[in-house]
C-alpha cells in the first residue's frame, strides 16, 4: 500500500458486547456479525462470533453480562456501505429450544473514540438478519422492542485524512445511546 498516494483506507474496530437488559428473558447468548458494502473487505480479525450463555445476576441490577470481545479491521475505497454490526440475541423457550429474542444493528462509529449503543427489537417469526440493514425493506415488519444491548466500541482509522475525508473531532468521551427506561442502570 503506497504511503504517498493511498487509494484505500483502513478502519480498525475493537471493543466488546458488554451486557444486556432484557426484563422478560434469562439465559441468553448473542451472535454478532458485520455487514458492509461492496467496497469493503475485512483484512484482520473475526467478522462474527457467538458468545457464552449468561444468566441474570442475583443483585438488584439483574444484569446479563457477556463481556464478549470484538476485534476486526476493514479496508475500503469508499465510505458508502460503512460496516454495521448486527446482533442477534437468543434464549431458551419453555421446551428448551433456542429461539431468537431480539435483533439490533448499528453502524460502527467513525470518529476515533468510544460509544455506547442501542436497543434491540423482538422478533417476528420470519425475520432474517439482512432485512434490518436494507433501508428499503423494513416496511412490512412489525416488531416489539424488548430489551437493550450495550456495546462499547473504539475505532481507529488510517489514511482517511490523506484521501480527503474529514471525520470530525475525535470523541474521547462516551456517547450515550438512546435513553434507557427508568430504573435501568447504565
Amino acid at each position: 500500500m503506497a504511503a504517498a498516494n493511498p487509494s484505500i483506507f483502513l478502519l480498525m474496530v475493537n471493543g466488546q458486547v458488554e451486557s444486556a437488559q432484557f426484563p422478560e428473558y434469562d439465559d441468553l447468548y448473542c451472535k454478532y456479525c458485520f455487514v458492509y458494502g461492496q467496497d469493503w473487505a475485512p483484512t484482520a480479525g473475526l467478522e462474527e462470533g457467538i458468545s457464552q450463555i449468561t444468566s441474570k445476576s442475583q443483585d438488584v441490577r439483574r444484569a446479563l453480562v457477556w463481556n464478549f470481545p470484538i476485534d476486526v479491521t476493514f479496508k475500503s475505497t469508499n465510505p458508502y456501505g460503512w460496516p454495521q454490526i448486527v446482533l442477534s440475541v437468543y434464549g431458551p423457550d419453555v421446551f428448551g429450544n433456542d429461539v431468537v429474542r431480539g435483533y439490533g444493528a448499528v453502524h460502527v462509529p467513525f470518529s476515533p473514540g468510544r460509544m455506547f449503543v442501542l436497543g434491540t427489537k423482538g422478533p417476528s417469526p420470519c425475520l432474517c438478519q439482512s432485512l434490518h440493514l436494507n433501508c428499503r425493506s423494513s416496511q412490512v415488519t412489525r416488531v416489539c422492542s424488548q430489551g437493550f444491548v450495550t456495546l462499547l466500541l473504539s475505532v481507529v482509522t488510517k489514511d482517511m485524512r490523506k484521501l480527503g475525508y474529514d471525520t470530525g473531532p475525535a470523541d474521547t468521551r462516551g456517547v450515550p445511546g438512546p435513553g434507557l427506561p427508568q430504573g435501568v442502570p447504565r
Binding site: 465510505p79 436497543g119 433501508c135 423494513s138 416488531v143 416489539c144 480527503g164
Partner: protein
C-alpha cells in the same frame, strides 16, 4: 466536486400518545446536489414497545452525495404514523431537520407536529381515527405555505447521524 456521506440511524420516537409507530423518511436536497449511492427515502418497521414508552426502529441511513454548491443542504423529513390492530394507519406527526453541517457524530431530536382540523374533525379523530393530512409533503420541510396551518405538537423523533465530508477544504469551505 465535494462529497458528503451521511451515515447513521433513525433511532426511534418518544412522546407520542399512540403506540405501534412507524416512520416514513426522505431526504430533500437542492439542485447542486447529486445522490451517488443510497436510497433517498424509506419506511421503517412498525414497533410496539414492551419496555418503556420509546418506540425503537434503529433504521439505518447511508447516503453518499456529491455537490457543487452549499445551497440546498440536505434536509431529512419524517412522517410518523401509528398502526392499530386492524391495520389502519393514522398520522401521528410530521417533522424535519437539516442534516448536520459539521463532520462527526450528532444526536438529533426532531420535534413533530400534526395538523389540527376543525372541531368536528378533532372530535371524529378522537372517536373514529383519521384526521387531516398534508396534500403535498414538501410543506414538511419548506416554510412557504405554513401560515395557513393550525397544528398541534406530536412527540419527538431521535436520530443519530454521522457526517463525513470530503474535499471541502479544497474549495475553501469551513465546516
Amino acid at each position: 466536486m465535494a462529497e458528503v456521506h451521511v451515515i447513521g440511524q433513525i433511532i426511534g420516537a418518544t412522546g407520542f400518545s399512540e403506540s405501534s409507530l412507524f416512520c416514513k423518511w426522505g431526504i430533500h436536497t437542492g439542485a447542486a446536489w447529486k445522490l451517488l449511492s443510497g436510497v433517498r427515502e424509506g419506511q421503517t418497521q412498525v414497533d410496539t414497545p414492551q419496555v418503556g414508552d420509546m418506540a425503537y426502529w434503529c433504521h439505518p441511513i447511508d447516503l453518499h452525495f456529491a455537490t457543487k454548491g452549499l445551497q440546498g443542504w440536505p434536509r431529512l423529513h419524517l412522517q410518523v404514523w401509528s398502526q392499530d390492530s386492524f391495520g389502519r394507519c393514522q398520522l401521528a406527526g410530521y417533522g424535519f431537520c437539516h442534516v448536520p453541517s459539521s463532520p462527526g457524530t450528532h444526536q438529533l431530536d426532531c420535534p413533530t407536529w400534526r395538523p389540527l382540523g376543525s372541531w368536528r374533525e378533532q372530535l371524529a379523530r378522537a372517536f373514529v381515527g383519521g384526521g387531516p393530512q398534508l396534500l403535498h409533503a414538501d410543506t414538511i420541510y419548506s416554510g412557504a405555505d405554513r401560515y395557513r396551518l393550525h397544528t398541534a405538537a406530536g412527540g419527538t423523533v431521535r436520530l443519530e447521524l454521522g457526517l463525513l465530508l470530503r474535499h471541502f477544504d479544497r474549495y475553501g469551505v469551513e465546516c
